[in-house]
C-alpha cells in the first residue's frame, strides 16, 4: 500500500479537519448522487444533504475500524455506511408515519441488501472520476493560472491552439509551453491522488486502464473524456 494512503487514513483518525474536508470534497458529490439514486427521486435535496452528513459522522466514528491492509476499497466501505444511514432514516420515517394513514415512500429496490458486498460498477466508475476531478482541482490550484487556463481551453474545451493563442494574445509556441507545464502538473497530481485514495491493486490500476498513463495525446484525450463524462453525470444528478 502506498505511503500516502496510510498517512491520509492516519490523518483522518487523528481528526485532522483539513483531511476530512478533502474527503468531503472528493466523495461528497458521489455520495449525494448515490443517495439521490436510491431515493428514486422521492428524497429532497435537504434530506440527501442531511443523510450524506450523517454518513460522514458515522464514518468518523468508525474510521478506527477501517483497516486499509485488508484490501477493501474505501469507497465500498463508505457505500456500506451510507446504506446504513439510509436504513436508519427510513426506519425513523416509517415510525413517524405509522398510524398517520400515509404510505411510505417507494425507494429503488436495490438500496438495501441487493448489492451485498459486490462492487457496483457504476458507483466505482464515478468514484474514479471523482478522483480524477480531485486531481484536476489540485493541479488547478498548484499550477500557474495562465497555464491551466490554456490547458482548459485547449484540451477540456476542445479549442484549437491558434484560437487559444488569439484569445489570449500570445504566440502558439507559448501555448505549447503552457500546455506542457499544466500537463506535467496534472500527471503529478493524478499520481498523488490515485496513490492517496487507492486501497487495492485494482484501484491502483484504474488510471492506467483509463489511458491516463499514455503519451501526451492519449493522456489529454482520456482526461477530457473522463472530465466531460463526470460533468454530464453531475448535471444529471
Amino acid at each position: 500500500m502506498h505511503q500516502l494512503t496510510t498517512s491520509f487514513v492516519r490523518r483522518l483518525r487523528d481528526r485532522d479537519e483539513a483531511a476530512w474536508f478533502e474527503l468531503w470534497q472528493v466523495f461528497g458529490p458521489i455520495l449525494r448522487g448515490q443517495l439521490m439514486k436510491w431515493g428514486n427521486g422521492r428524497l429532497g435535496m435537504e434530506t440527501v444533504r442531511d443523510l450524506s452528513q450523517e454518513t460522514l459522522a458515522a464514518l468518523s466514528k468508525s474510521i478506527e475500524r477501517f483497516d486499509p491492509t485488508r484490501g477493501v476499497r474505501f469507497s465500498t466501505w463508505l457505500l456500506a455506511i451510507a446504506r446504513h444511514a439510509m436504513s436508519d432514516e427510513i426506519d425513523r420515517r416509517m415510525a413517524l408515519k405509522r398510524g398517520a394513514g400515509k404510505r411510505p415512500i417507494h425507494l429503488q429496490e436495490d438500496w438495501m441488501g441487493g448489492l451485498g458486498n459486490a462492487v457496483d460498477a457504476d458507483y466505482e466508475q464515478r468514484i474514479f472520476e471523482a478522483k480524477v476531478a480531485a486531481a484536476i482541482r489540485r493541479a488547478e490550484s498548484s499550477s500557474d493560472f495562465m497555464s491551466f487556463e490554456v490547458y482548459r481551453m485547449r484540451v477540456l474545451d476542445g479549442r484549437s491552439g491558434k484560437d487559444v493563442a488569439v484569445q489570449l494574445g500570445v504566440s502558439q509556441p507559448t501555448i505549447s509551453r503552457h500546455l506542457q507545464q499544466a500537463r506535467g502538473e496534472l500527471r503529478t497530481r493524478l499520481t498523488e491522488i490515485v496513490a492517496t485514495w487507492s486501497f487495492t491493486p485494482e484501484e491502483m490500476a484504474e488510471a492506467e486502464l483509463a489511458g491516463l498513463s499514455g503519451d501526451d495525446t492519449l493522456f489529454d484525450e482520456a482526461l477530457a473524456e473522463i472530465w466531460h463524462r463526470a460533468a454530464s453525470m453531475d448535471s444529471e444528478c
Partner: protein, 645 residues
Amino acid sequence: MSKLLIILVVIIGTVIGAAAIGILLRHLLMPILRGIVNTIQFIGRLVIELICDAIAAIWHLFVAVLLLPAIIGCLLFGRWESVGRMVRGLGGRFRRTGRRVAGLVTRPAGVPPELRRTPGRTLGHRRRSGEFPGWRLIGELQAGGSGARLLIAEPADGAPDGAPDRVVIKCFDLSGGSPLGQMIRESRALDGAKKLGLVIEHDHDETRFWYVMPFIPGTHLAQTTTAMHTNGGQLSEAAIARSVGWCRDLLAALGEYHDAGFWHKDVKPENIIINDTGAHLVDFGLVTPLQSAMTLTTHGTEYFRDPELVRQALRGSKVSEVDGARFDLYSAGAVLYYIVEGTFPAHGNLSRFDIESGDAIRWVIRRAMADYHKRYATSAEMLADVAFLAASRNPRLVRPADLPSVSSAPVQNAASPKPSVGDVCRRPRIEVSDWWSGRYRVRDAVPGAPRLQPDAFEAARRARDSRRLIRDERRQRRSAARRSSFGGLAAFCVGLLVLGFIWVVVLETEEVWFHEPVAMSTQPLPDGQGQVLIVNNHPRRLDAHAAVRTALEERGWQPMEDVDAEARLRRDFPFDDGLQTEVDEASKRAAHAVLSTHAFAAAAIVQASSDDPNAVQVLLLTGDEATLYDLEVLAKAAGSIQSTP
C-alpha cells in the same frame, strides 16, 4: 402721436392681458383641472379595487361552499385527517373572505408600488406605530436565515433628521426565538456597518435588539436571474450586458467595504437587490473587519463561499491572518457565474459553462474563483476588468487578452503579491479622528496590498452617482406623467363611466320622480286626425261629456267610446285622484301604446280643474304629447267658429 400712444397702450394691454390669462390658467385653472382629474382617477381606482375585492370574496365563498360536501363525505368515511385539513382550509377561506368583505367597506390607502413588488407581506391598513420609536410599520419582508424579522417602516414623530422615506428594521427578539449568538454577531457587525453608513440607528430593550437600514426596493438577484433564464436557452446581448453591469455595481460596493477595512462575507444572489438603478449589496449581518483578531468562522453560503475559507477556518486561522477581501472576490465570481449560467457553481472554479457568454467573461469568473493566491488581488483589479467588459459594445466578443488585468501585466507576475495564507500580517495603521468618541479611520486597510486603482473606483462611483441622479429625474418624470399613464387613463375612464352612470341614473330618477306639468293651452283644439277616445273622469260633471264631444266633433274629430280601451287606459295611465295635471314620459308612452292598439288617434280625458272642482278640463293625449284645455275656452272657441260664416 395720439394714435401711436393708443397702439402702444393696446399692445401693452394685450401683453398684460395675455400674461394675466396665462397666470390664471397656470395657477388657478390648471390646479382645479388637475384636482378634478385626480378625483375622477381616485374614484376609478376605488371602483376597480372594490370590484376586484367583490370578485375575490365571491370566489372564496364559492370555493368554501364546494368544500362543504367534501368535508361531510370525509366525516362519513371517518377520514379525520382530511377533515382537519379541509376545515383548516375552509377557515382560511372564510378569513380571506372576511378580509375581502372588510376591504369592501374600509378600502385602505394604496400600498406603495415598490412595496407590492417586494417579496413578503404588507401590513396594509394595519399600519402600526409605537413598536419602534420614531417609525411606523407598513410591511414585512421575508425573513432570512438569521432568525430576525425584517420590517418595512416609514418615519414617524421622533425619526432622525434626514431619514429616508422608507427603511428596513431588522429586529431580533429573544421571545420570538431569535438565536442569541446571531444577535451578538450582528451587533458586532453593526460597528462596521455604521462606519459604512449602512445603519441609520439602532436600539434595544429587555428582549429585543434592532437596527434601522435604508430600504432598497427591487427584487433580489436570484429571482431576476431565474426570470432571465426561464426560456432555458442562450442569453441575449442585452442580458449579458446587464449581467456585467450588475457585477460592476457589486464590485464597486465591495470596493467600498474593503476600502473601509471590512469584508462582507456573505455575497450571494439573495443579498443583491436589483432595481432600475442597478445592483445593491445588502445584509451586512456577517460584515467583519479585515484585521479582526477573532477566529475565522465558516459562516456563509455553500457554493458562494470560498472552500479556502472553510479550510482556514478549520485550521483555526485568525481573520487578520487571511485576506478576507479575496474571499469576497471569490463570491463575486460565483455570483457572476450564477447570473450567466442560471445555476450555482457546483464545482467551484471547475464548474462547466453551458451558456455562451464569451471568453472574457469566463476568464473573469475563473480568475475570481481561482486558487486563493492566483485570483484577483483586489476588488479594484477585478472591477477594472468588469468595467472594461461593461463599457464594451458586445462583451461576448471581448478577448481575454484585451482585459486590463491581462494586457497591462502578465497574470503569472501579478499573482500573489500579498502575504500568503498563514503568515501573520502586521496590524493596520489607524488614525484617530475623534478622541472623544473614539472614532478612527484605517489608513492601510489591507497591509501589503498594492495600491488601489482609483480610476476604476472613481468611474464606478461616478456611474453610480449619475444613475442616482437619473433615477431621481425618472421618479419626478414618472410622478408627473402618472396621470397620463395607461393606468391613470384607465382609472380616469372608469371614473368617467361611473360619473356618467350616476348622471344617467339621476336623470332617470328625476324623470320618474318628478313629473312634468302638462301645459295648459289657450288655443282651440287641434284639427281632427281620426278617432278619439273619450274618457269621463270628472266625478261631478257628467254633462261635460256631451260638451267635449261637441267641441271635438266641431274640430273634425270622431269621438268614440270603447270600454276595453278605457279599461286598459285606466290601468296603464294614472287616474288615481281624478286630476291629471302632471304626466311623465312613461305614462305618455303607455297611453300611446293603448291608443295604437285600439286604433285611436287620441284620447280626451275629461277631468276636474285643480282650482275649481266644478270646472272642467280636457286632457288631450295625442301621440307622445299631452295638452290640457279648459272647457269654457273650448266652448268660446266653438262659438267663435260657429259665428264665422
